[in-house]
Symmetry: C2
Subunit: 238 residues, 2 copies
DNA sequence: GTTTTTAGAATGGTCTAACCATTAAACCAT
DNA sequence: ATGGTTTAATGGTTAGACCATTCTAAAAAC
């Protein structure tokens, strides 16, 4: 029947008002908020309170702050980065097993690759080919280039997400990569054979995307990820 | 080659240390951080700096703060709420459209239903049947029960996620629901016909799950969600 | 006249010290 | 027992000072 009677925190009100001004377009991206000392006078409060509000707005990704003359709080374009950050916290604070992340990744990479193969345009292909080239170079150089190889593999999947055209997938995928890479470092045996197999996978995925065959591309991406996962699961330390 | 040499903000260091202590389990959920005046001494800094750090940790959803004796910063279980909040900001700042969430939801519900149909056990079925019963009652009662109907529909999908057995899907799906429900309220025409059609969808999905037919269940779930989305997109205000 | 150096000013970052507001618990009066 | 009162601990807020960083423009050097 009744709502909890919550306390009034001045900085909360400051946050709401500035957030509203930004989202309504009253203050546009790239523009600066008034200086802290001015805001203090405008809101008739103290600088400390203003600064607490700015910390929250900064954390939300609505503003960024520079020091010095001409510094101040600049209104930012909200990026997907904060979604990744909070999702990452959520994932890390749950007791998730590698199996859960691995399964989720398999599904997501499948979906992303499906969408990418459906929406890919001619101009996207050189970028993908260039990444596959990088993987080839790393594979040819062998184990010393393992890190480059992993990094290019991630780029390949992220580029597919970009092509798929849905920013949500970009956030989700970067979070998944961040989390699963921690496990890869720990549990994946760095073998030459792995690199070669996975390079072949990528070549096949690229071909399917070039031919605009979503279903096939999806299944290839899934087994590509599954291969990684299986090798990790075989590892006894897990 | 080089990382950006970022300036040292004392509160940033405080945030990192406390965050690390929480995520590593050194301080457990439900436990309290030391009082601000104690933290100030421990970190050898000022109370203002400590408070700026606490604002950020609060915004991240890692702690909540109570006033009064026995008050203080309590370590919280990270909830999906903050992910939803940042997604919501993305939408409101127009970096993300309803279309993106709708598409993502279609994929996710499809994946979840596929998994659920594969892993479902006999004991899970009564729960699903009970939810479908609730939907039937709401549908029979017609438009006045619209909210109950939407709520039961969400429950149905969340229960499938639970059955699927991957906590990531539970988090992701609640985030999606939290966000998309706002749009349903705004853009979905509340028509009797909608309720009936969607009830039929759910009955079919349940049947496919009962028969352990993952592929069919997945496709049914996808078109179920797509139906919602299409009705929203037809709405001119969108 | 052009370039370099320097000084100033504006801005965020931090600190101190005080007081206010809220809350739980202990105590007291009825 | 019930209800009020006091007390102490905690977060919330304020004011004022000083430091650190950075841009600008004046001054100096060439």
């Amino acid at each position: 029947m009744f709502q909890v009677a919550k306390q009034n925190r001045v900085f909360q009100d400051v946050i709401s008002q500035i957030e509203e001004a930004i989202l309504s377009g009253e203050i546009k991206v790239g523009e600066k908020l008034p200086a802290e000392r001015q805001l203090k006078d405008m809101f008739e409060t103290s600088r400390g309170t203003i600064r607490e509000a700015l910390r929250v707005l900064e954390q939300k990704g609505l503003i960024s702050i520079k020091t010095g003359t001409n510094g101040g709080a600049i209104v930012e374009n909200v990026k997907t980065e904060k979604v990744s950050e909070s999702l990452d916290l959520l994932i890390r604070s749950q007791s998730l097993s590698l199996k859960h992340i691995a399964q989720f990744r398999e599904d997501v990479e499948g979906n992303v690759t499906y969408l990418a193969a459906r929406t890919v345009e001619e101009k996207d292909l050189p970028v993908l080919r260039e990444i596959v080239e990088r993987v080839k170079k790393a594979v040819d150089a062998g184990l010393p280039m393992w890190d480059d190889y992993i990094s290019a593999d991630n780029d390949f999947h992220m580029e597919l997400a970009r092509i798929a055209g849905n920013p949500i997938y970009i956030s989700i995928l970067s979070t998944v990569h961040e989390n699963i890479n921690r496990y890869y470092d720990q549990f994946l045996d760095k073998e030459d054979e792995r690199m070669k197999e996975n390079y072949q996978d990528m070549v096949e995925i690229l071909k399917a995307v070039e031919r605009r065959e979503p279903g096939i591309a999806q299944e290839l991406a899934r087994s590509h990820v599954r291969r990684f996962n299986e090798f990790m699961e075989k590892n006894p330390e897990k």
